[in-house]
């Protein structure tokens, strides 16, 4: 009996939404997020034939691609920001501190690992067991890490503590 290969991009619209939520939680800049998502699907189309359904779901496969894309983008961004940090003047700093802090800003202030967990849990909606498999962790460790991330978020949202953005700029809150 011939086993029919499943197309991982068969339900592409729902996959785009899930990957978008994941990447948007991970990457602060909206334009960067869209650029990464386009690159993810471009790569997915190119390597569609290499998808193995026995190794995981299509969304897990796409997350793996997205993670690689984000790492590459952050590496490039890091080099660019090293050159630009000294060019930011005080006026820009003051203007950005007046922006209203949103939940997404708070998420962006978290460390990379916490953002990853938040993106997987609340962006895509994976269970803690699925996240544990995805990140090669124990389920307990995922639960503890998620709890800490939520506590940190709650502290930021309720106290309005000034936060540090991934770009290194300190931002105030008016919440």
């Amino acid at each position: 009996m011939i086993k029919r290969r499943r197309d991982p991009l068969a339900e592409v619209e729902s996959l785009i939404s899930d990957v978008y939520a994941y990447v948007a939680y991970r990457v602060p800049n909206h334009a960067d997020a869209e650029e990464i998502i386009s690159a993810v699907f471009e790569r997915a189309v190119r390597y569609r034939k290499t998808y193995d359904g026995s190794k995981g779901s299509p969304i897990a496969w796409l997350i793996g691609i997205a993670r690689t894309q984000i790492a590459e983008q952050q590496c490039q961004r890091h080099h660019a920001e090293l050159e630009l940090t000294e060019a930011v003047d005080d006026a820009d700093l003051e203007a950005s501190s007046l922006e209203r802090l949103t939940l997404h800003d708070a998420v962006r202030s978290l460390d990379d690992r916490s953002r990853e967990l938040i993106a997987l849990r609340y962006g895509i909606g994976l269970s803690t067991r699925e996240i544990a498999e995805e990140m090669c962790l124990e389920e307990n460790a995922v639960n503890v890490a998620l709890h800490r991330a939520r506590e940190r978020l709650r502290a930021i949202m309720t106290t309005g503590a000034s936060i540090e953005t991934p770009g290194g700029m300190r931002r105030g809150s008016t919440v």
């Binding site: 991009l9 592409v12 619209e13 785009i16 939404s17 978008y20 939520a21 948007a24 939680y25 997020a33 869209e34 998502i37 386009s38 699907f41 471009e42 997915a44 189309v45 939940l103 997404h104 998420v107 938040i118 849990r121 609340y122 962006g123 909606g125 709890h147 939520r150 506590e151 978020l153 709650r154 949202m157």
Partner: protein, 157 residues
């Protein structure tokens, strides 16, 4: 307390999940489906190949392969004859020798009665018994002598 934090923050994170615009989703989906359309070209090619093979098998089953295989040779022969220049002589009529019609209605090989139809060669070489000649051989042959039908009556007497 921890459970409440899960409820509040978790609920808010789920509710405020980043959502792409419809235009963006449509744009990415279009590019993905565009690649899929290209992939369909291979499938169409496979269908065409299967149909070709089916046609060849059907042709072979009905005995059309020998006719089909000899057709290019016939065409080549006709084309070659047509382009061959014969300015002084009249063009030879091309006849299909290997056909069912030719087998039934074509020229039959004629029975030579022995009286000669000019195809024997040079007439001077023929035996003239009235002149007493014996021809090139020792004895005149019975078949070539219209006046001597030999031991059997062949219709000449």
């Amino acid at each position: 307390m921890g459970r409440n934090v899960e409820d509040e923050i978790g609920h808010e994170l789920r509710e405020n999940r980043p959502v792409p615009t419809d235009e963006y989703v449509a744009s990415v989906a279009r590019s993905v489906r565009g690649h899929r359309r290209v992939r369909g070209a291979g499938r169409r090619l496979a269908v065409a190949a299967v149909l070709s093979v089916t046609a060849i098998v059907a042709l072979a089953a009905t005995g059309g392969m020998s006719q089909a295989s000899s057709a290019p040779q016939s065409v080549a022969k006709i084309v070659k004859t047509a382009f061959k220049s014969k300015p002084a002589k009249a063009q030879k009529v091309n006849r299909v020798s290997n056909s069912a019609a030719n087998n039934q209605y074509g020229e039959k090989p004629k029975c030579n009665s022995g009286r000669g139809n000019g195809s024997e060669g040079d007439p001077s070489q023929l035996i003239d018994p009235h002149a007493g000649g014996t021809g090139p051989g020792t004895y005149p042959t019975l078949d070539c002598d219209p006046g001597n039908s030999g031991g059997k009556n062949r219709g000449g007497d």
